[in-house]
Symmetry: C2
Subunit: 273 residues, 2 copies
């Protein structure tokens, strides 16, 4: 999916919601465990219940990988089930020397046909650029993450800037707003406005709204650009909203709340332009 | 495998060679393509030809992941085929927020039963420590890598030290020489001695000897400690040493050269103590 298509999708659906399918077989409703593929059964119900409210699904590959072959089967069924025209993110945080990164890019862009994959920056340019060589595919580079450990290195001062700022600036050199987004953590919302000034055009994938505690209002007010420029992810807050027979209805209710709130911020943005 | 067992293995085999199974189906001898699982057929022949000469096998997961389900099957067959008592490394460069890193640790330590997995440091402490909670299992944290992109962030100055030094020091706080190793790139051999002084006890996984150009002598002279403390990896230089019917014999010949050279450095170490 290219940038214009994504921007159009956001306008049409009045949403920049990304639903995170961090599906943990330990946490899904017990009645699903009798299915041949309980993880897929759960994801299918969540997708059916939320697909008109979100513009993206993010699959956290770790939860699938940990189940071995069965997990990769669930992942494949899930990515194939996501309707055409919704943006897909492999949240896999890959990154290695060039020829190995190329293999990872092939994994997610060609073998599994995701639109995008999250990429770790530590190994530098030649670990990131292989993900930028695929038409209408995206690398989503870790900038500032929302976990406590983001303090350890990302917030270290290099000259007059933090490491994460160096990563953002490097990413802007390596990629374009058409093939590179950044992960920008929501619990650092005081910094979101500053980061948006630094990176005016690129999309941000903002994790950590909901269960991880970021405020959708702060994120939207501080980091929206003229094309919206945001994908705001909620995982546990939506997919584990309920745990009974009607878990999908519960998930839809929470997703709908986000979407309605987002529509409000999008309207304000249009009014402001 | 625990540290003492690894040290004993190195002494017994007079080797600290790690053979990297970066097996690319495009590069293996054509006559193997008629096998049901060509990648495993190749790995099996390489393992048979080198298992008495090396102490570790490193599987670069990207090459398997890119083939989808078939690739994971080849990976599983390969890890099961590696003889008991040889150290195994999932070169997967994972790292995410805590609960996700736990899923990755389960993937490689429990589902696939590797002894160790390579871990990316960018997300900090809570992304690394989940890999340190498994008995006789190891995290191998990226310190200084051997690719050109290592200049971009790892070699950036934070106060009076480089980022990679900060990562090494943090790793030493989070883990112990019993559960944490570091990736230290071989093409930076001028720095290896300095890094060894900074990190006296931990094992280093040194990639990039052979095809990537590091010198085994420099690495060994500068970075060996009293327990050896080194796993030196060669991938392409060994596994693609030949491309005909006798590719495994060619691989063995190169592996044997490394092992003999390593025996020499190990003897010098014993003499020096």
């Amino acid at each position: 999916m290219n940038r214009q298509e994504l921007v159009n999708l956001i306008k049409e659906k009045q949403s920049y919601l990304c639903v995170g399918l961090d599906t943990d077989i330990q946490k899904i409703p017990k009645h699903l465990l009798s299915h041949a593929d309980p993880v897929f059964a759960f994801n299918k119900a969540i997708i059916d219940a939320t697909k008109d409210l979100c513009v993206a699904y993010k699959i956290n590959t770790a939860f699938y990988e940990s189940m071995g072959m069965r997990g990769w089967e669930s992942l494949q069924r899930t990515i194939e089930y996501i309707p055409e025209g919704i943006f897909t993110i492999a949240d896999a945080k890959r990154g290695d020397i060039g020829n190995t990164s190329t293999q990872y890019a092939k994994t997610f862009f060609e073998t599994y046909k995701f639109d995008s994959v999250t990429v770790a920056p530590y190994m530098g340019k030649d670990s990131v650029t292989p993900f930028l060589q695929f038409s209408e595919k995206w690398a989503i580079l870790l900038g500032l993450t929302s976990n406590e450990g983001s303090q350890d290195f990302q917030m270290q001062q290099i000259g007059d800037e933090f490491l994460f700022e160096k990563v953002l600036k490097a990413g802007m050199e390596w990629g374009t707003p058409e093939n590179l987004m950044f992960v920008v953590g929501a619990t650092q919302s005081s910094q979101l406005g500053y980061i948006r000034k630094l990176v005016p055009d690129h999309f941000f994938l903002v994790p950590g709204v909901g269960a991880q505690g970021g405020s959708l209002e702060e994120i939207s007010t501080q980091a929206m650009n003229k094309d919206c420029g945001l994908l705001v992810n909620a995982s546990r807050a939506i997919i584990y909203a309920g745990n009974g027979d009607d878990f999908a209805t519960d998930a839809r209710r929470v997703a709908k709340q986000y979407q309605v709130e987002m529509a409000g911020y999008l309207n304000k943005m249009v009014a402001a332009v």
